[in-house]
């Protein structure tokens, strides 16, 4: 008898479980939808959300990118191609910088790898086009006139190589060693 009872209880439990779930969904039916009406209402995305990629400039208005190839090396879809070049004053820059957004998966690894904070992902996610070739963004398309998320960082103030100016003028550097010094 006990066994039979438990079968019935099991059945009851099952039915109650079902009823519970039906109750939950029914309750939801009368809740106000939480959907945002996207094209009519656009939420402000956090600055760190990962959308279209830009190349920023340093506070002095120079290109931040030094064409170190780390972004292209780390890119899991190989969508970044660069060629470095050198300015007369020794500062390095990308001769060309191409991102194939048709391949980009917006993973943000390039941004993480970038030692100069040049390459940054923006919250701009509305990014669709009719032609695949239109997704090929060159440096001119990527370069912006602001510092992006990091307003103050200037890589060349920290690097050991000097462009313009003299050695030893960077942050946390001693003046250059004078080889002919008489000091011991």
């Amino acid at each position: 008898m006990a066994k039979e009872k438990s079968v019935l209880r099991d059945l009851l439990d099952d039915v109650m479980g079902l009823a519970d779930s039906y109750a939950v969904t029914l309750k939801h039916l009368f809740r106000k939808p939480i959907t945002e009406q996207y094209p009519d209402f656009k939420r402000l995305l956090p600055a760190r959300s990962r959308g279209r990629i830009i190349l920023t400039r340093d506070p002095e208005g120079e290109e931040r990118c030094v064409a170190c190839y780390l972004c292209s090396a780390v890119c899991p879809t190989d969508c970044i191609s660069i060629e470095g070049a050198e300015r007369k004053d020794g500062r390095r820059y990308p001769l060309w910088f191409r991102i194939n957004f048709a391949r980009c998966i917006y993973c943000g690894m390039c941004e993480e790898a970038c030692p100069t904070l040049a390459i940054q992902l923006t919250p701009d996610f509305e990014f669709s086009k009719y032609g695949v070739l239109d997704f090929l963004y060159e440096k001119e398309d990527l370069l912006v006139d602001h510092q992006g998320k990091n307003a103050d960082y200037d890589y060349y103030r920290h690097a050991g190589v000097s462009v313009e100016g003299d050695k030893g003028e960077h942050i946390n550097e001693k003046p250059p060693v004078d080889v002919k010094s008489n000091l011991p």
């Binding site: 004078d178 080889v179 002919k180 010094s181 008489n182 000091l183 011991p184």
Partner: protein
């Protein structure tokens, strides 16, 4: 730049040596006797005499403290800064000379008389604090003693200014 007479003297000096290279430091010290310090031109001429490349000579010159590759005054004051002298007041001595003779540490006084440099141990620990001026050692320095020494040197400035 070097006078012919000096060059001749150096040549004989070098000729004595088994290999010219061993006289390199002596040659430079000899030039310093006359010119106070080793300018680039002096280095080049000396290296020619020694049959070394200027760089090889410069390796030696920049290695040794008593060969000066930058202009110095007539009297180069080397104040010992090793442990004993330092305990006995090396810094006080430096500061005092610096103020007394109006010479910055590592630099030369405006009258071109004194150059003040630190030096590592000169072996006069028993008479610390000590200093060397043109190969003469002075120990147990006190302000009065320094005054006397400097006044004497300034008075008997027989050195010619560098040619």
């Amino acid at each position: 730049m070097l006078s012919e007479e000096l060059k001749q003297k150096l040549r004989t000096m070098i000729a004595d040596a088994e290999s010219p290279r061993e006289k390199a430091v002596d040659v430079m010290l000899e030039i310093q006797e006359r010119h106070l310090w080793m300018s680039d031109e002096a280095m080049e001429e000396a290296s020619d005499l020694l049959g070394m490349s200027p760089l090889e000579l410069d390796e030696l010159a920049t290695f040794y403290d008593f060969i000066y590759r930058s202009p110095v005054g007539n009297y180069v004051i080397h104040v010992c800064d090793s442990a004993m002298c330092w305990l006995e007041g090396h810094q006080r001595v430096m500061d005092y000379i610096s103020i007394r003779a109006n010479v910055p540490i590592g630099g030369t006084s405006p009258d071109g008389l004194f150059t003040l440099l630190p030096v590592c141990c000169i072996g006069y620990c028993d008479r610390a604090p000590a200093m060397v001026i043109n190969r003469r050692v002075y120990g147990k320095l006190t302000p009065e003693k320094i005054d006397r020494i400097l006044d004497k040197l300034a008075g008997e400035n027989e050195f010619h200014p560098p040619e």
